[in-house]
Amino acid sequence: MNNAIIVFTGTSIDLKSGKKILGDLALFFPPIKRGDISEITRKYGQPGVIVIIDGFYYNNLSVSLTEIREAIKLGWKFYGASSMGALRAVEANIIGMKGFGKVYRWLKLFNVCDDDEVAQVVNPQTCQPLSLSMIEIRYIVRHLRLNKLITRQLSTVILNKMKALYFPERTEPNLIRLLKENSFLSSEFININCKKIIQLNNIKNMDAVMLLEKIKKKYLYECETL
């Protein structure tokens, strides 16, 4: 395939890890914002593939459904996962954008099109996440519940309290503080294990890696149908 593969990411998966998977097969851009798609379609005349993983919200206008629809009409293929990509894939599924991963399936299952579930604050220079998104918190709390580290009742309390916070305040220290205040687990156990559990249950990252691997298989080895 000679047409361009464009990937918008930087938060769910860092640039270095993304490039490690796709190498020279794709061109990497920072998280998507409104206007980026038209710029890409103008720049690369021949339709190719656009992979949306991360995007910007609030401070910038987020990528719109109309932009995706217009590019699909021109022949561009769209794939989404992890964060903004999963959210837009749920909304634009009907017009041909394909979504992948647990975040996408979860949002689709519960018919969630709410930015608040995937939004977090990021460092503007590095795009590194500086808070946890609600969807990540749900996955971490689920892991704690399934491993019988917290009760179902407590998981509901923690999720409700985290959801009630303004999204930039949904941070790792705040989640750990809530666990310390409410669970039977010792502070020592929480201090030692929670950071590890949070890192191992980075659902956005897992989905991003999975989608990029799929893109690689399809467009490099042409052995998988996306």
């Binding site: 938060t11 769910s12 998280p31 991360d54 995007g55 910007f56 919200y57 609030y58 401070n59 910038n60 964060s83 903004m84 995937v118 939004a119 977090q120 604050v121 990021v122 460092n123 503007p124 220079q125 795009c127 996440p129 500086l130 808070s131 998104s133 303004y166 999204f167 930039p168 305040e169 220290p173 956005k204």
Partner: protein, 88 residues
């Protein structure tokens, strides 16, 4: 003494300096100096009770930290104030 790196959007509140050096032993010294010398800048990064505003993050020597007044500082510490963006 610590070096404070100021984020571009807030530099106009600090006479366009990209960084300032503040004599300090702990974080509360920095907060007090900023409060006295640059009150407008302080209003932009702190809410009530000197809690950081939601989009502001602080790095101490490249490590993301939580604000605590008792935090001890060394003479060559570098503090970076970041105005975060909403993304993901």
């Amino acid at each position: 003494m610590a070096k404070i790196i100021i984020p571009t959007p807030l530099r106009h509140l600090i006479h366009d300096h990209s960084e300032i050096i503040i004599e300090c032993n702990e974080l509360s010294d920095i907060i007090n100096t900023l409060k006295k010398d640059y009150p407008q800048f302080c209003n932009q990064i702190f809410s009530e009770n000197y809690k950081l505003k939601p989009f502001i993050r602080i790095y101490l020597n490249s490590e993301l930290i939580c604000i605590s007044n008792e935090l001890k500082l060394k003479s060559d510490d570098e503090i970076i104030i970041v105005c975060a963006l909403a993304g993901g």
